[in-house]
Point group: C3
Chain length 137, copies 3
């Protein structure tokens, strides 16, 4: 990637919108397809990263199983996306994330955590997520 | 609409920014002009939808009248916009919405509700909202 | 600026993303470089505006000094950006801002204040902020 064009910026925003909708609606097949086959996802400071689409899918399913009684709707808000071109067909994306959680039967959501995401995206006909590192505030 | 170009994505973002500013500032004339003349707005699960610009204006004015003593500033945040082209001159937009409410004399806002919006937008020289369906979390 | 193109809209979004990251990470040199040399920043209704990059830097450093024991991570979320072209090489940007504050050792952030920003941006090879007026809800 040579420079951050308007086309790239809009494509990245749309990519994140589709990724968060897939995750929040529980469409994990579509969600893991937003990662590269060999992706690395460092989602927690206390655990090793998830690796490969199969590993990221397993982590998502384990999270759902652990929270299956919660009856909480989660919505990921990604914002303030800074892009830095890298020498190959990729780009670094640094962005903010908030999760909005609404418990069934309540109207006022809980909003946490607040995070910094550091992603590497590959940019070809499709955009895919090659690595993600989450820092919790 | 054939494909989601950067131009379309930016136009849709700008459309929503102008629509929310018009609504939140109480400029209802400008707000209803963001809808098509024959728009349908399903704003509540418990009531029939508002129909046509005149009907949507009446609903907005009724809401203001019902809350006129509240002294609350509302700000609508729309985010995570996913666009899907439709066969005619329209596009489906699926997006998240949060309302930030600050009571006069207080600094900490209440943030609710969290919603999913499902919109149909017509895309010509201007973008207009033809239908909206709100799902509350 | 003659019209709001997709290129301009994406450039402005990226500009605000970089500005907020610089501010929130304490990189004040990069932060003040997002202002014009002669910028005016009306950040409080009760104080005179900060003027020039040197004055804005001094205000940022004074704010950090006053809050140095707080151990709070702040993240500025800017959204709902409305652009209005102006007759010269500038554009008016009207947008919403929220600050998300997470105290060290806690996970649930405080979200305040909610603001309206009225900015004038100069648009050349770079985008720079010439003036900012903040209205707190």
């Amino acid at each position: 990637v040579r420079q951050v064009t308007a086309e790239l910026y809009a494509r990245v925003q749309h990519f994140y919108a589709r990724q968060t909708h897939a995750l929040d609606s529980g469409n994990f097949k579509e969600y893991v397809d937003t990662f590269t086959e060999d992706a690395i996802f460092q989602h927690s400071p206390d655990a090793p990263p998830a690796r490969t689409r199969a590993g990221i899918l397993a982590a998502a399913e384990a999270h759902r199983e652990a929270h299956k009684g919660d009856r909480v709707t989660r919505r990921h808000y990604f914002n303030q996306i800074v892009l830095t071109p890298l020498p190959d067909n990729s780009v670094r994306a640094t962005l903010y994330a908030l999760v909005v959680r609404t418990r069934s039967g309540e109207t006022v959501p809980e909003i946490w955590p607040s995070c910094l995401l550091e992603d590497i995206l590959t940019v070809d006909d499709d955009i895919l997520l090659r690595s993600r590192h989450i820092s919790y505030d």
